[in-house]
């Protein structure tokens, strides 16, 4: 005769063992993945070559301004009625920030970076770049950081924000920050200009992040001005990017200890 | 209390109630498998109908297929059903040789069908049809065509395999009429499904 015994639990032990091995290798059911994608070829990833040491005695700089010509487009105003908190902050709606243009045509939120001409590795800054969600908008609207550098994303609002990146070369992430003070640290591993960030809960919210494998990038302020410091002498191609008006490139030469001037002009498209 | 005391009626050969209307388990199971599988195909074809009704530019079949070729294909498969029926009859008579020959003929018919289907697929893929695109109209057609005919084709392929095993066993006398009949049931089912697939894709 046969008696069923506790030995029939063997398959269950197997499952438990599998489970144990699964737990070890992962970080649980967290939201969007932030595993660094292995640096693909081309311009993505950290550049190869020797570590760069910039000689302060010879380095120059690039500076200039970005202007807009023509009639500025009307900015879209979005009603924030669906969220009581945001509605309270912006009872008349929120501007989309897609084109911030000064009285004299100074174009803000333009990302300027050296696209060609830089070789060698640069040490990564240890402090993170911060992207805040405050007043139901991203602050800053456009920012740059190094690939591999930490991006600190913080919710400073008393409402839920959903951080959703839409990259092409990097890994996508999509997670919620439910309350004030929530923070998350992410890294973008490949060079990419630009990565769009959005908030699924508040359709009007957007931010653009430029990920560059060297330290030569800047974002224009309200005065439309930018400056790239400590640039070794050489010939470069500089690109200016604007979310609405597109990209422009210019080639230039930086002399020893010289300041190369550069200006971009965007037109209505 | 324990009344395992068994009356003298129990004979070793008739331990259980006669099955469902005297049908053997194996045949019954084959029927249940067929019913289940028929519902699976039914679900696919119903889905196909659902999509077709709601689609805008369903492709014109005359542009895509050579109907003569498809007719030959279908005819081959139907013929193989006939040879299968002959094999079952031969096996019932106890004619092992005929059973083997006709089962093999059925398998050859199945292989011929598969070959023609492979050609058909090649022809369509060559002309740009894919799971997600279809140069003649609605892409859904490509998805349904490859999924359903592929699924049916896998049934034919496994059927050919079963036929070969059955033929081999029939020749060696290991598989009696029952075995051949079961294989026959499955084969007829696969052919019947093709008639519906044929109707849905090429006729309507």
């Amino acid at each position: 005769m046969i008696r069923v015994s506790a030995l029939s639990t063997a398959p269950l032990l197997l499952v438990l063992a599998l489970l144990g091995s699964g737990c070890g290798g992962s970080d649980g059911a967290s939201g969007g993945g932030n595993k660094p994608a292995g640096g693909p070829g081309g311009d993505a990833g950290q550049p190869t070559g020797p570590d760069m040491k910039i000689d302060a005695g010879t380095a120059g700089s690039i500076s200039g301004a970005v202007k807009f010509e023509g009639t500025p487009p009307t900015e879209r105003v979005n009603s924030a009625e669906a969220d009581a908190y945001c509605h309270g902050k912006h009872p008349d709606g929120i501007k989309s920030e897609s084109s911030v243009i000064g009285a004299g045509g100074e174009l803000a939120n333009v990302f300027v970076w050296i696209k060609k001409g830089i070789t060698g590795k640069f040490p990564l800054p240890s402090e993170p770049v911060t992207l805040r969600q405050t007043g139901c908008r991203y602050e800053p609207h456009v920012l740059g950081l190094r690939n591999g550098q930490e991006l600190l994303i913080r919710n400073e609002d008393e409402t839920m924000h959903n951080v959703h990146s839409l990259p092409k070369a990097n890994e996508e992430f999509n997670f919620a920050q439910t309350k004030k003070g929530d923070e998350a640290k992410k890294k973008l591993s490949a060079q990419e200009v630009m990565v769009k960030f959005k908030c699924d809960a508040h359709g009007w919210m957007s931010a653009w992040v430029g990920v560059v494998n060297h330290p030569y990038f800047a974002v224009t302020g309200a005065d439309g001005k930018f400056e790239l410091k400590n640039v070794p002498p050489g010939e470069y191609e500089v690109e200016a990017w604007h979310e609405k008006f597109g990209k422009q490139q210019q080639a230039l030469k930086v002399e020893t200890k010289g300041d190369a001037k550069l200006s971009f002009t965007f037109k209505e498209n | 209390m324990n009344s395992t005391a068994v009356t003298g009626h129990e004979a070793a050969t008739h331990e259980s109630e006669p099955g469902f209307y005297g049908t053997s388990w194996q045949k019954l199971m084959m029927w249940w498998f067929i019913i289940g599988d028929a519902i699976l195909f039914g679900s696919f074809l119903a889905a196909y109908g659902f999509s077709r009704i709601s689609a805008v530019n369903w492709p014109d079949r005359t542009q895509m297929f050579s109907l003569n070729f498809i007719t030959v294909m279908t005819f081959t498969l139907i013929t193989s059903s006939a040879t299968m029926a002959t094999a079952v009859a031969a096996s019932r008579r106890g004619d092992r040789k005929a059973a083997f020959n006709f089962t093999m003929a059925t398998a050859v018919g199945g292989l011929a069908f598969l070959g023609m289907q492979a050609y058909e697929w090649y022809h369509l893929i060559h002309n740009g049809a894919r799971m997600d695109t279809n140069p003649w109209g609605a892409p859904a057609f490509g998805a349904y065509f490859f999924a359903i005919t592929g699924f049916h084709g896998s049934h034919v392929a496994s059927g050919v395999l079963i036929l070969l095993i059955t033929a081999w066993n029939a020749k060696r006398g290991k598989s009696g009429p029952e075995g051949v009949e079961l294989t026959g049931l499955y084969w007829h089912f696969v052919d019947l499904v093709w008639v519906f697939v044929f109707g849905c894709f090429y006729l309507i």
Partner: protein
């Protein structure tokens, strides 16, 4: 120690037993890769118990989040994954395994008088497919993006937007987690279909002599009807799952329409229709409810008969009611889709057809109740659970009236009313039925009784906890509280929200009550009071063989001579007649 003892007992018993049915003597073949339906039945039960720890644990976790938002250390992404996995695990890997596969395997051959299942090897295979299925299901928590998070119904487009190839990603859980979910479900379907085939073959072909269809115990009838329903409905889900996988990985457009824009990215899909999946899913989904609920009712009929010392009322009408429920169950799937955008005319049809099912269910209910008339009820734990089932069937059943009425469903669809209703039906009814069966057959499984005091504790905790918990959820549904919400903010939902802590406390009670059961189960396996061959003085065939049951179940198969419930009429007291007693 205890294990070795059990093996020894088995061996000794085997030697004492004269006729060998050619069963394997090796340890592994006997207990791990066994083809004996009794061992497999218990393996399923243990598997279900293990999975229930996961499933119930998840439910407590999100209940804490719901009652005290922010206190559960949980993100919204985890929340949707957890509710999805709770649903899937509980329905397919706990209730289905324990009730359909576990108790079904154990009881069917014994009740019809067969030596084993029709296909013992297939039976073993069915169980061993469940093991990787369970493992994959649980491992899906640990992949990138987390477990599937589209609800246990896995409605596309959310579940189809995988982020693979050209397909955009719908949500974090739509990635690998959803694929593993589909894979585990595919394995489950294969296993369940093979099990169903085995049930049908066994019931149709291996009945003992004299066991005509109308002499089968109602448990067997319900398993039979459930197996048929499963065989007829699962292929639809198989088709849907195949198409969903193709959509996810090969870029087809079965369920993805033209003009999709996901997170600002345009999808390349053309011409699919998401509603198609819902039709296929519920063509399975609704019969699946009866696949689970009917066997529980069948077990209750058997248990009530044994402990009230009288045959169940209306055997024939119950059988007919079962068959009518099965038929109607196949043609009413659309009542899950009243607000889905289906043609409103179809909504009306499905509403009217669904309400017809109340009729056979009323017959079953009346038969269950009338089975107590002029009885002598013994309040064993098993009986208490069966009585609890009567209450739960009634309460859950009338909740169905609200949901089946399309007009009322405009208010109730996807609220906690639905949650409460289906938990009463496929949670409480099935589990009370399962527990009634476990306490009832435990002496037959292990030759020992379960402890009655712990059993009562288990019953009161489970019944009070589960009943209160799910009835209150009905009220929350009245209040318009939407399901699958991480947090609530609307004004109208505040009164319903106030009930949330109470619901969570009752959930703790109901889940906590399972602790004495788990302890009781394993303790009694080795230390319980020894049981005789027929401790309950019941009359069906499983009680005619020795305890513990020999391999092959009977030395010589019984010959059935009468009805399954041979309890004496009139004033004859405890007299009863076994189903195989000589005339």
């Amino acid at each position: 120690m205890a294990i070795a003892q059990a093996v020894e007992t088995g061996k000794a018993g085997h030697q004492a037993h004269g006729r060998d049915h050619g069963h394997p003597a090796g340890f592994i073949r006997k207990y791990i890769f066994s083809t004996d339906h009794k061992v497999i039945g218990v393996q399923y039960l243990l598997m279900a118990m293990l999975m229930s720890v996961v499933g119930l644990g998840l439910s407590l976790w999100f209940r804490v989040q719901l009652a005290w938002p922010g206190k559960a250390a949980m993100t919204p992404e985890q929340y949707v994954a957890i509710v999805t996995m709770h649903g899937t695990i509980m329905i397919f890997f706990v209730v289905s395994l324990a009730l359909s596969s576990g108790l079904g395997n154990f009881s069917i051959p014994l009740q019809v008088g067969a030596r084993d299942m029709a296909y013992p090897f297939l039976n073993m295979l069915s169980f061993w497919i469940i093991v990787p299925a369970s493992a994959i299901m649980i491992l899906s928590f640990f992949v990138e993006g987390g477990a599937a998070a589209g609800g246990w119904t896995a409605y596309p487009p959310l579940s189809a937007l995988s982020g693979f190839g050209k397909v955009p990603r719908g949500s974090p859980g739509s990635g690998m987690g959803q694929t593993l979910w589909l894979l585990a479900m595919a394995l489950f379907i294969v296993s369940f279909t093979m099990g169903g085939l085995n049930y049908v073959a066994t019931i149709l072909n291996l009945r003992a002599r004299g066991m005509s269809l109308m002499r089968m115990p109602l448990t067997v009838w319900t398993y039979f009807v459930a197996a048929l329903l499963g065989l007829l409905s699962f292929p639809a889900l198989t088709a849907a799952a195949i198409m969903l996988l193709l959509d996810r990985h090969l870029g087809t457009s079965f369920f993805l329409p033209s003009g999709l824009v996901v997170s600002g990215q345009q999808a390349a899909n053309v011409g699919g229709t998401p509603l198609l999946f819902q039709h296929l899913f519920w063509f399975l989904g609704h019969p699946e409810v009866y696949v689970l609920v009917l066997p529980a009712i069948g077990i209750a009929f058997d248990v009530i008969a044994a402990f009230s010392r009288r045959p169940p009322h209306g055997y024939k009408t119950s059988v007919w009611a079962l068959l009518i429920i099965a038929f109607l169950g196949m043609i009413v799937w659309g009542h899950h889709m009243f607000t889905s955008g289906m043609n409103p005319f179809l909504g009306k049809y499905f509403s009217i057809a669904t309400l017809l099912i109340t009729a056979p269910f009323a017959v079953l209910g009346v038969n269950l109740l009338a089975s107590l008339w002029r009885a002598r009820i013994r309040f064993t734990t098993s009986m208490l659970f069966a009585l609890g089932l009567i209450s739960a069937v009634g309460t859950g059943g009338i909740g169905g009236l609200f949901l089946a009425t399309a007009t009322a469903d405009l208010h109730f669809h996807d609220t906690y009313f639905v949650v409460g209703h289906f938990h009463l039906m496929i949670g409480v009814v099935t589990m009370t039925g399962t527990f009634a069966g476990i306490y009832y057959w435990f002496p037959k499984m292990f030759g020992r009784h379960m402890n009655e005091t712990l059993g009562k504790l288990h019953f009161w905790g489970t019944f009070i906890g589960a009943f209160a918990l799910f009835v209150i959820q009905h009220f929350q549904g009245f209040g318009g509280m939407t399901r699958r919400y991480f947090e609530y903010s609307a004004d109208y939902v505040q009164p319903a929200l106030a009930l949330n802590p109470a619901v969570t406390w009752f959930a703790f009670l109901a889940v906590g009550a399972q602790i004495p059961f788990f302890f009781n189960f394993f303790w009694s396996m080795f230390k319980g009071k020894k049981a005789e061959a027929n401790p309950w003085e019941a009359t069906t065939l499983e009680w005619t063989t020795a305890t513990p049951v020999p391999h092959g179940n009977w030395e010589r198969l019984p010959v059935v001579s009468g009805k399954p419930y041979g309890y004496a009429e009139g004033a004859n007291g405890d007299a009863h007649r076994m189903q195989n007693a000589e005339a």
